[in-house]
Symmetry: C2
Subunit: 219 residues, 2 copies
DNA sequence: TAGATTGTTAATCGATTAACAATC
DNA sequence: TAGATTGTTAATCGATTAACAATC
């Protein structure tokens, strides 16, 4: 009974893509899919699909392909999408509000369970079906609601403090939208989404392809 | 005069992080920084910082470090942050609205130049300083405004069509928030931000660490 | 059996990082 | 000169992918 090999980080980030493709196939009543087709739908290479799926187990049938329903179950089980994942959003500015109202969350077990802000002017306001509570109540909200994931949508200046408090309160998954490098203890998962940074990467390539011509022919 | 070596993708994605750290140092009146310190601020390894920066040129001084102001200029020049980057946002739902109102964009040359939606009920509405125009005018808006970047914040169903039209109109950088794999011709840069996917990756790790106990001890 | 497709190996590719000569 | 720190090499690590035996 040797332990299963650790799933590589790169594979983990692709599992949700496969799951999305598989759910689409399922809703189209497709019952079987080849690695070739799943790769095409997911925008990757077929060998990579097979390698990735092989980390989960031998779920395919040679000469046939993968059973869509079965694979949805297995990938979903791996990702924990059948669990309930209560989320707290800290910071109800433009972005936090949008996330609070975003209903795409619900699909994979995610549920916005609490809204927290430091601004007294926002506390008590209703957004969707929830009421914004004070940052002073962060710990109690996290404790009560058994919050699993913290979304940091504050300013850069407050983000580290909020992250520290989330971690202290027992949250071990953090999604950070603040434009700052957060430090969290090992054992806590952290992912960052930074819109300005994504745009800078995009425009890097455009800038390299078509550098601004400001009169000087070369440097 | 051999052409400069191509900058690796992984390095490109870190340049904006370095730039942010450098701007922070500059605003703190720090004039010189070592790779060690810059690495710490950026959450990476010092050797990686030196390697990454070496792709841009030999901008450091042995025994001393890097001049903060000079490095800000060089990294900024590489990323094109001194250029004006007009952005069109397509899809003014919760997320599109938040992005339209997001002022963090302005900092690196990004400027929301147009808002586009297919819903006639939204056309004509003012959001911030702009008015939502019909998707029918996408091509003319992109052409007129010399739009450089398209942000796709539509539903999954419309995203590919919108992307195709953006590309036809001459946009060659697309940031996609719709939960779908887009295909774009080579020469067009595409980056994806998917909130549900980020959350699934986070909870994968939490789920692996603390699997749900539903009565069965093992499988 | 013939055709199809997986699961896995091994080769390749690219990214990370330790180490250290160069040099301020 | 002694200490500090870069720039670069080379070793290591990990991810990708072509290839193909296994097998439906």
């Amino acid at each position: 009974m040797a332990g299963r090999a650790r799933i590589p980080e790169a594979t983990v980030t692709r599992l949700p893509v496969y799951l999305r493709s598989l759910l689409e196939l399922a809703s189209d009543q497709v019952s079987t899919v080849s690695s070739e087709r799943l790769a095409e739908l997911s925008g990757v290479n077929a060998a990579k699909v097979r390698k990735d799926l092989s980390y989960l187990g031998s779920y395919g049938t040679r000469g046939v392909g993968y059973d869509v329903g079965f694979l949805v179950d297995q990938v979903g089980r791996e990702l924990g999408t059948t669990r309930d994942w209560p989320v707290v959003i800290v910071g109800l500015g433009n972005l936090g509000r949008a996330l609070a109202n975003y209903h795409g969350f619900g699909t994979r077990g995610f549920r916005v369970a609490a809204l927290v802000d430091a601004d007294p002017a926002l506390v008590g306001e209703s957004i969707g079906e929830l009421t914004v509570v004070s940052i002073d109540q962060l710990e109690s909200v996290v404790g009560q609601g058994q919050v699993a994931v913290g979304i940091v949508a504050t300013t850069a200046g407050s983000a580290q403090d909020v992250a520290d408090r989330l971690v202290s309160a027992g949250v071990c998954s953090i999604l950070n939208f603040a434009p700052v490098v957060l430090s969290v203890p090992s054992g806590v998962s952290l992912r960052n989404v930074d819109l300005s940074m994504e745009l800078q990467v995009l425009t890097f390539y455009q800038h390299q392809a078509h550098p601004q011509h400001l009169g000087s022919a070369s440097v």
